[in-house]
């Protein structure tokens, strides 16, 4: 019967209930979309790394820390690495960050095709001219690009020669020499990393150890498998902190919304609380009613939040899939529910306590 009272109370002021649940829903959506975006970006990066076909990456030796910095390797290392035992092929890549989360990658495309066993083109083909550019399907879709069309990237006019499926190295691939010229890395020619293909992938760990000994102080070797495993939220402290901040904000917003809703309800229902107390409701019963209402708001808000999250993902992936790749992360659904619940329960405590200690006679006389 108490549960029925809780539901009827919420139905009675359905606009307030709906608005409160909507705000909780937006809070849940914010968390899940942020998490989905973080995972999307990391998953795509990991997929692109795997999509190169390399077994080992050679990066500047930054003493074990992960770096997004530009060219720091002399290109002369490429033939040196290629001469090492079990190395089938080595390809130098110059990666230049653009558009916040994307990179423009310069490489010798014919060598890269040999390394990854042939790139699948959705339209067009490899770059032949110095100003030819290859983009992935997400970017082409987002910007409605056609083969042969002029594309301005990094302030340079490129001609779109091909569109490849997503998940291979990066969104943009351009001739290495042109990118080195554009970024001032032509003399001496510099690159950011070297992709290494072994004659036997089973030897990867062994060769990583050997290359690290050989190139100590200059380059750091990491297997693609280990590199991909680094694409995890837990390995990026700033992202973890950002998510924590958003989570705390979400709890605060949920708390404020539910607090306001419950506080208003308590004031508005002063006489009803008096009636319940006159009928023998104990303070815990009154508090329990308010807490249950807050829990229902949190649950309804969470469901609305899930729907909003799917809608937001659909809208983002339909309009700007290249800029903001969002994925669904079901593992975070219960966490988002817990966050919504925490905010709602915190918000219900004071109004519930106020209601529970209300004087019965005064409450019954309330107009």
């Amino acid at each position: 019967m108490i549960n029925k009272l809780v539901i009827e109370n919420l139905k009675h002021r359905w606009v307030r209930t709906l608005l409160s649940a909507l705000v909780v829903g937006v809070q849940v959506m914010s968390i899940l979309t942020l998490i989905g975006l973080s995972h999307g970006l990391l998953e795509q990066s990991a997929q692109r790394a795997k999509g190169t076909g390399a077994d080992i990456f050679l990066k500047p030796d930054t003493h074990g820390t992960f770096s997004f910095s530009g060219a720091q390797i002399n290109e002369r290392f490429v033939p040196f690495v290629e001469k090492q035992p079990h190395v089938l092929q080595a390809v130098g890549v110059l990666s230049v960050p653009i558009e916040v989360v994307n990179t423009l990658n310069g490489l010798n495309f014919s060598e890269f095709e040999k390394l990854n066993g042939g790139t699948q083109f959705i339209a067009g083909g490899p770059p032949h001219g110095a100003n030819d550019l290859v983009v992935d399907a997400y970017y082409a879709k987002q910007h409605h690009l056609q083969i042969g069309q002029a594309v301005k990237v990094m302030g340079h006019d490129w001609r779109l020669s091909g569109i490849i499926a997503g998940g291979v190295l990066g969104r943009f691939i351009a001739p290495l020499a042109t990118l080195q010229q554009l970024t001032g890395n032509a003399e001496p020619p510099r690159i950011s990393e070297i992709l290494v293909k072994l004659d036997d992938p089973a030897l990867t760990n062994q060769e990583v150890t050997r290359l690290n000994q050989l190139l100590k102080g200059n380059l750091q070797a990491i297997s693609v498998a280990d590199f991909v495993s680094q694409f995890n939220i837990n390995n990026i402290p700033d992202l973890k902190a950002f998510i924590a901040v958003v989570t705390v904000l979400a709890v605060v917003v949920g708390f404020l919304v539910v607090f306001l809703s419950m506080y208003t309800a308590v004031v508005e229902r002063t006489r009803e609380i008096g009636i319940l107390k006159a009928l023998g409701a104990k303070p815990n019963t009154i508090l329990g009613i308010l807490v249950r209402e807050a829990v229902v708001l949190a649950i309804v808000g969470w469901v609305i939040g899930l729907v909003f999250t799917f809608a937001a993902r659909g809208a983002i992936m339909a309009t700007i899939p290249a800029s903001l790749p969002v994925v669904n992360v079901p593992a975070w659904w219960p966490i988002a529910a817990a966050i919504a619940l925490a905010g709602a329960l915190l918000g219900a405590i004071y109004p519930g306590w106020k209601a529970a200690r209300q004087d019965t006679i005064e409450a019954l006389a309330y107009e």
Partner: protein, 234 residues
């Protein structure tokens, strides 16, 4: 009840016994003496009306007898239970088991139907079964066909009759009614008063009714008059 409060050896016929009851309210620097030594006995199965003008202390007496407020001094026994020794929790439990309230403003929960208003009192009272004659009581109250309606869809008279049903669902030792006809027209007032009298006669339900209206009081077996916090005439 949480623990066993003192039982008073009152005569089995007296369900309410009040001795030298005082209640003082402290409002700022002023003390308001609402009750100044009330003595009262109510027999089991009696229908008593307490009549008095506004400010005479009858509502304060109603609140104390109903366990809604503690007395300042004096003794009150309800069905053998000494109220002065009860904690807040025990007074709440007393309201669940021993008292049924009927208020002037009906005080039904607006979000629930008449049926659910009765049911929630039963839930709060911790009882799972209704009195065997409860169907008969609903029949007598004339609300059987109106139980699925919410209070806003009921007339004042119907709401008050639902409130009476709610007050009786836990088989209370006493039914306390505070100006039960104060918001009703004459026709509905008479109907409600006749129902109370009928209930009293048929089920021997003890009723203590507070009113300022002598015509309403006339429906009771006995009338006591209050003025300035004291019972003047019985």
């Amino acid at each position: 009840m949480s623990s066993a409060p003192t039982m008073n050896p009152v005569p089995a016929t007296d369900i309410i016994r009040v001795r030298d009851l005082h209640k003082t309210f402290h409002t700022g620097d002023v003390d308001v003496y609402a009750l100044r030594g009330v003595d009262l006995n109510v027999g089991r199965g009696e229908f008593l009306a307490v009549i008095g003008p506004s400010g005479s202390g009858k509502s304060t007496l109603f609140h104390i007898l109903g366990g809604l407020a503690p007395p300042t001094s004096g003794e009150v026994w309800i069905d053998g239970l000494a109220l002065r020794q009860l904690t807040e929790t025990q007074r709440t439990e007393m309201r669940q088991k021993k008292v049924g309230f009927v208020f002037q403003k009906y005080n039904l929960l607006p979000t629930l139907t008449a049926r659910d208003n009765i049911a929630i009192a039963q839930t709060l009272g911790g009882s799972t079964t209704r009195p065997p004659d409860f169907d008969e009581i609903l029949q007598l109250l004339g609300i059987k066909q109106r139980l699925s309606h919410k209070p806003r869809a009921l007339s004042g008279g119907e709401q008050q009759r639902v409130a009476i049903a709610r007050a009786l669902v836990n088989q209370p030792a006493i039914l306390l009614a505070d100006e039960p006809t104060g918001n009703l027209d004459t026709e509905n007032s008479n109907a409600v008063l006749e129902i109370l009298r009928d209930l009293n006669k048929r089920t021997r339900q003890t009723i203590l009714m507070i009113t300022h209206n002598p015509e309403a009081a006339a429906f009771a077996d006995r009338i006591v008059a209050m003025r300035d916090g004291i019972i003047h005439a019985a």
